[in-house]
């Protein structure tokens, strides 16, 4: 898969790395059970700090897209990661558009809650 980070962008590098992986899972480039490159190796390749990569991986783990285990590295999880990654990308878009419109966090949550309640 192709990792791309823009060193001049205001978006944190860890988030950019997470977004690349999320995108690759969503479009099927990365399949369940596939292993991500070791954080140290990826950091060397990109020329960034290893903690930056680990922050991105940690984020993906919080989103249940990957498993992080000592000694085994980062592996794409087996439970519908593709659909999950697409959903997360949708959430990301929602947040970005709401921010662009100037909505507060509370307003966004209210919108989502109303939608959920309406079925």
């Amino acid at each position: 898969m192709l990792f791309r980070v823009d060193l001049g962008s205001p978006v944190p590098l860890g988030d950019q790395i997470a977004a690349t992986v999320r995108g690759a899972i969503a479009d099927g480039t990365l399949r369940p059970g596939e292993r991500l490159p070791a954080a140290r190796a990826l950091a060397d390749s990109l020329g960034v700090n290893v903690h930056t990569v680990l922050r991105g991986y940690q984020r993906l783990r919080e989103e249940d897209l990957i498993d992080l285990r000592r000694g085994r590295g980062a592996v794409v999880t087996g439970e519908q990661p593709t659909a999950r990654a697409r959903l997360l990308e949708g959430v990301q878009n929602l947040v970005e558009e709401a921010r662009a419109l100037g909505l507060s966090d509370e307003e966004v949550l209210t919108l989502v809650r109303t939608r959920l309640a309406g079925g």
């Binding site: 898969m1 990792f3 791309r4 823009d6 060193l7 001049g8 060397d44």
Partner: protein
């Protein structure tokens, strides 16, 4: 095809010419040649081995035309330009010249002597034959250089590119597995274990080690980044094979059969080395030396595009600096 035939002609030419020259001298001197030719000479140049005159032509024909035929067939089957194997062509030319000179000189000394037993072979003939080999070999070297490697067959359309913003860093990485090597490695290890249990030959340790190495290397991670291309086992950063960007001229991708690359594993052929884990999508790197490096990996098109982009970027960055 015509190019392959022309190459075959070029590599076979010195052998045919040497053979024709020996034949011409033989025809000219035939009346003066003894029935038994002195064909082997001691360290002092005194004849100590003899061959019937009738055997001379078949032996010369075999010695000169057979190698000529072999190099022609090899050149016909190879797709490598002669320019990429100048050394080999030069050795062929030199060998043909030395053999041709030695046989002509031998006919000459035989024709000049009254009896075969009196024949001597002055040692300066040896020096001259080496000089002839050097001169003709040099001619072969120059001739092979005219068949330049990059100009005629690898200059296809310019390789693909991947648009990258100025401050953008990109890394392409992918693992590729080899069922063939995995099965082979497991089988070899198993055989070693069975032998270790059943016998006491000492060979089983080597089998187990080789088997484990094959199995371990049956899955590799291929990475393209700002430093170049690297291939390492999937579980550890070393041992690592690396080709730095500075050594790469251009990258392309296409389908390749394992057998057409020389088989599975790390294969070295004239003008090309290849890491072959399976048949299918493969990344081809043309190096600045004119040689080629191939690694079979999925999505090689993206890898090739990134390599070309990074090579270009490195070139302009270096140009800007100095």
């Amino acid at each position: 095809m015509t190019r392959a035939w022309r190459r075959a002609g070029v590599v076979a030419l010195p052998f045919v010419l040497a053979w024709a020259a020996v034949l011409a001298v033989y025809a000219a001197l035939r009346d003066r040649l003894p029935d038994r030719l002195a064909t082997h000479f001691g360290p002092g140049g005194q004849a100590d081995g003899f061959t019937g005159l009738g055997a001379f032509l078949p032996v010369v024909t075999t010695l000169l035309l057979l190698p000529g035929l072999i190099v022609a067939v090899v050149a016909l089957r190879s797709r490598t330009a002669l320019g990429a194997q100048r050394g080999l062509v030069a050795i062929g030319y030199g060998t043909a010249a030395m053999l041709g000179y030695a046989h002509i000189a031998m006919l000459w000394v035989n024709a000049s002597a009254a009896r075969a037993a009196d024949v001597t072979f002055p040692l300066w003939h040896l020096a001259l034959s080496l000089a002839a080999a050097g001169a003709v070999g040099w001619a072969g070297w120059l001739l092979a250089g005219r068949d330049a490697a990059p100009a005629d067959e690898t200059d296809e359309a310019a390789g693909p590119r991947l648009p990258l913003a100025k401050g953008e860093a990109a890394v392409w990485t992918r693992t590729v597995g080899s069922p063939v090597l995995a099965v082979l490695g497991a089988g070899t290890t198993l055989l070693g274990v069975v032998l270790a249990v059943a016998t006491d030959t000492g060979a089983e340790t080597a089998l187990i080690v080789i088997g484990l190495i094959s199995a371990a290397l049956s899955r590799c991670r291929v990475t393209v980044d700002r430093r170049g291309l690297s291939v390492a086992p999937w579980f550890a950063p070393r041992p690592r094979l690396r080709i730095s960007l500075g050594r790469i001229k251009e990258a392309t991708s296409r389908e390749a059969r394992a057998l057409s690359l020389g088989g599975w594993g790390y294969r070295i052929q004239p003008g090309r080395s290849a890491l072959v884990l399976r048949s299918g999508d493969a990344l081809f790197l043309r190096l600045v030396t004119g040689k080629e490096f191939v690694v079979t990996v999925d999505d090689a098109a993206t890898a090739a595009a990134l390599v070309n982009t990074l090579v270009e970027r490195g070139g302009t960055a270096a140009g800007a600096r100095g």
